[in-house]
């Protein structure tokens, strides 16, 4: 199968969140869907100590031409997918540009500074206001809440992958998703993941 050329090559996607939200799995999942179609994928991860409540970030780079470095240069992200809304903003500081798009979960994970009352957590409309100014398009999705309705909060990452698929910058069709799930997940879990993916797709309007 000939690999389809990308409008932006390399396409630079950042998936961000807080340790334990399933960041790494989401990036692997997208990577697998694209490697299957002949793309060169490089995923750079920052995890380790970040498992303990710190920010986590995956840099996923897609190219039809060659392997890329594991770190996206400053100001060069095309898309930010955030499992936590203030993390989306933090990522824009390094990698944002006027053309960047953002898909973010609305569910906050409070940092210690917020938990103990030292820093206020911004209101969602404040965050939306900043995103309007800083991006070419931003989607706010109740991914965790919807995932909890499907049975477990952790599926929030899959919902966001579904949403990313619906935006359409990358060829992430549902059937590809199903193939990767069938290959990498225990059979009992495949269906609920597909449900979450489809739910995420339906949330991009």
């Amino acid at each position: 199968m000939a690999t389809q050329a990308l409008a932006m090559d390399p396409y630079n996607l950042i998936i961000t969140g807080v340790g334990g939200q399933g960041n790494v799995l989401a990036s692997k999942l997208i990577g697998n869907m694209l490697v299957d179609q002949g793309y060169y994928i490089t995923i750079g991860e920052t995890f380790g100590a970040s498992q303990r409540g710190g920010s986590v970030m995956s840099h996923l780079r897609v190219s039809a031409e060659s392997i890329q470095g594991p770190q996206i240069p400053r100001g060069k992200a095309h898309m930010v997918v955030a499992l936590e809304p203030t993390e989306a903003l933090r990522v824009l500081k390094e990698y944002g540009n006027p053309g960047v798009k953002v898909i973010t979960n609305t569910r906050p994970v409070y940092s210690l500074a917020v938990v103990c009352g030292d820093s206020p957590y911004p209101a969602m409309d404040v965050l939306k206001g900043w995103m309007d100014k800083l991006t070419a398009g931003a989607w706010f999705i109740d991914a965790t809440d919807e995932a909890m309705k499907l049975g477990t909060a952790i599926l929030g990452n899959v919902l966001l992958v579904g949403a990313l698929s619906a935006v359409g910058d990358l060829p992430l069709e549902r059937d590809r998703f199903q193939e990767v799930m069938a290959r990498t997940m225990p059979p009992a879990k495949v269906e609920m993941n597909i449900e979450a993916f489809e739910k995420g797709q339906s949330m991009i309007v």
């Binding site: 380790g48 970040s50 203030t86 994970v109 409070y110 940092s111």
Partner: protein, 644 residues
């Protein structure tokens, strides 16, 4: 179960760097691998452990890195291919043996994979092990991407066997923990037989005893082996040049920095002005190969992490051959063109290259940068590292901290490496006051514990994890006991090597592969050594605090074992011990004299201060149900109910 053995020759898979190292070792016919967990190295052994369910290999988590290298060496002496795997600091631990090993040489191909952490993304240092290759005269390889990670690992075994010595591979976090396309090769069929041939003379390298003596004979051999490696490096496909015929600047680089350098050339759009010498074999440098490309330009820019290791070698070589290549101008880590610390990225390389070329590199428009700074300042509160919700360490340090406060003599805790290192921060009530290497807290505690004669009357504590206890604490504790130090060691036993992903250790009932293994009992060992031993459940905070207080006032060497599984451990994850609730009608909020003890001081992420309601609340999703906060609320607003 999916393993790295899946996949046919020629198939392209998305692989993590560490999986690629593991696959490369399997394709080379690896029989034995031993390591000690440490980020970013752990997945190599973990993936091989999974592979051992379908292939005939022996995989071991060793008690520490020195023993890991010894275990792997034994396999090599018996003619098998073997690998020792560790993070950068582990090579320090293994180094004593490594010196002797490189003198004695190996038989079956043997490699050391050192996964290092420039930028200290998950380390207490950004130390390097590359100088060990130079110091111990063994060849050093540095792959640049996932494909090379696999291919060079495979080649390293051949090289090791050909020269009869250890070959060292150095990875970095951005390679080990990155993923990318890897084209697979085939896996060999039959497992070789092990036989240690020791009947020859002392000078017989193939069938004699394996020793570093006679020293001068062996040292000569060792240097001949290195020369043979250099001659292979001259022809290696892992070293190459890309760029114009007549560049103004030559970049010399290796490892992930190769990809940053390529990107920097692209970002500045200078591919007609800059050439790139990509080195896969970084020590010793292949002089003929280097001469050919160093001749091409007068400016040499070395891009590497962290210290100027390749840069120094290039300078030495360039001095040796200056009559042929002329006088060069050097840039890199050494002259500040690149920062002297920290990992690199494409922007830092682009900035450095722009400086050399007299250009400007501005990745973000100033107006956007200003706006985004304002946004982050206003709406992205800082996210400091913290113990997880339900982490037993938070409870342990709460009790230790309170005991020290009650004691009132300005006692302190010496620590080492593990999640509990975070106790130097407010999340652990700033209880840890020294942090160094594995086991160092107890060695330092042993030293502090002898300063009474100089008037020091502060109670001395040390902490260590259960895996660390076996790795490096035992000798330090023996030292404290034998030398009559005054100190208390608290073993924070969370039933696994938690920080690196729950690898087993000698205190547990399973080995690396999951087979049943005899568990060594920490309390029994400590008792046999002669220390006074106490045990407690850290979730029982009052009982634990009282035990700590009793021990630090008792004198002698005491050991307190605080046993409670990690909140993220596979057996606990997602399961709550207690349903924890907060009754807002009982929480007095700002009117309580507690000064927001639960959220401001105890700081569990599951407990949150609700500024509008002026009371604390519990986040259902984050709370892991340990129930500890129910014991600390002075008004009893937090209740816990056992989950059936």
């Amino acid at each position: 179960m999916q393993t790295i053995c899946d996949g046919r020759s020629g198939e392209i898979q998305l692989m993590q760097g560490n999986q690629a190292f593991a696959r490369g070792a399997l394709e080379a016919g690896l029989s034995v691998v031993a390591g000690y967990p440490g980020t970013p190295s752990s997945e190599i052994v973990e993936n091989l452990a999974k592979a051992s369910t379908v292939r005939d290999i022996y995989v071991e988590w060793s008690v520490n890195e020195k023993v890991a290298m010894e275990v792997a060496a034994a396999a090599s002496f018996a003619g098998l291919r073997s690998a020792a795997v560790m993070k950068q600091v582990g090579v320090n631990v293994a180094s004593d043996f490594m010196l002797h090993l490189s003198e004695s040489g190996v038989r079956g191909g043997m490699i050391l994979i050192s996964c290092e952490d420039p930028g200290a993304l998950s380390s207490g240092n950004e130390g390097e092990s590359r100088p060990f290759a130079k110091m111990f005269e063994v060849p050093l390889l540095e792959p640049c991407d996932m494909q090379e990670a696999k291919d060079m690992t495979q080649w390293a075994f051949e090289l090791s066997e050909e020269i009869g010595n250890l070959v060292m591979i150095r990875s970095v976090t951005r390679l080990s923990h990155a993923s990318g396309n890897v084209k697979l090769g085939s896996l060999p069929e039959a497992a070789p037989k092990a036989r240690f041939k020791h009947w020859g003379t002392l000078m017989d390298a193939d069938e004699g005893p394996v020793t570093p003596v006679p020293v001068h004979y062996r040292h000569t051999l060792m240097q001949e082996k290195l020369k043979k490696a250099v001659s292979r490096f001259e022809e290696s496909p892992f070293n190459f040049y890309e760029g114009p015929e007549n560049p103004e600047v030559i970049i010399v680089t290796s490892s992930a920095c190769t990809l940053y350098s390529r990107e920097a050339i692209r970002l500045l759009d200078v591919k007609d002005r800059v050439g790139l010498v990509k080195l896969g074999t970084t020590w010793p440098l292949p002089p003929r190969f280097m001469e050919k490309y160093l001749s091409k330009a007068d400016i040499i820019f070395t891009v590497e992490e962290v210290l100027p290791f390749i840069e120094d070698s290039v300078k030495i070589l360039a001095a040796d051959i200056s009559d042929r290549i002329g006088i060069k101008r050097f840039h890199g880590r050494g002259d500040g063109t690149l920062p002297t610390i920290n990992e690199l990225n494409p922007d830092l390389v682009a900035e450095g290259l722009a400086k050399i070329l007299g250009m400007e590199y501005r990745p973000v428009a100033p107006a956007y940068a200003e706006l985004v700074d304002e946004a982050v300042g206003a709406a992205s509160p800082p996210r400091d590292l913290a113990f997880c919700a339900g982490c037993p360490h938070r409870a342990s340090f709460w009790s230790i901290h309170n005991a020290l406060e009650m004691d009132g003599r300005e006692g302190f805790v010496c620590g080492d490496i593990g999640c509990y290192t975070l106790a130097v921060l407010p999340t652990g009530f700033s209880t840890l006051r020294t942090i160094h290497a594995m086991g160092s807290g107890t060695g330092i505690g042993s030293g502090f514990g002898k300063l009474g004669r100089f008037g020091m009357d502060q109670p001395v504590l040390s902490v260590c994890g259960d895996s660390t206890f076996f790795h490096a604490v035992m000798p330090a504790l023996v030292n404290a006991i034998h030398n009559r130090a005054e100190m208390t060691l608290v073993v924070l036993d969370n039933s696994g090597t938690a920080m690196t992903g729950f690898q087993p250790h000698p205190g547990l009932t399973a080995d690396a592969v999951g087979n049943e293994a005899p568990a060594l009992d920490i309390a029994g060992i400590v008792r046999a050594m002669g220390a006074h031993v106490a045990e407690s459940d850290p979730f029982q905070v009052e009982e634990t605090r009282d035990k700590v207080l009793e021990l630090i006032q008792k004198g002698g060497v005491n050991v307190l074992i605080l046993k409670q599984s990690c909140a993220l451990s596979p057996e606990k994850k997602g399961k709550k011990l207690f349903q924890v609730d907060l009754d807002r009608s009982v929480c007095l909020g700002e009117n309580c004299g507690c000064n927001n003890l639960c959220t401001r001081v105890f700081k569990c992420p599951g407990l949150q201060w609700d500024a509008e309601a002026k009371s604390a609340r519990i986040d259902e999703v984050i709370c892991s149900g340990c129930g500890v906060c129910a014991s600390i609320c002075p008004s009893g607003a937090i209740t816990k109910k056992e989950v059936a």
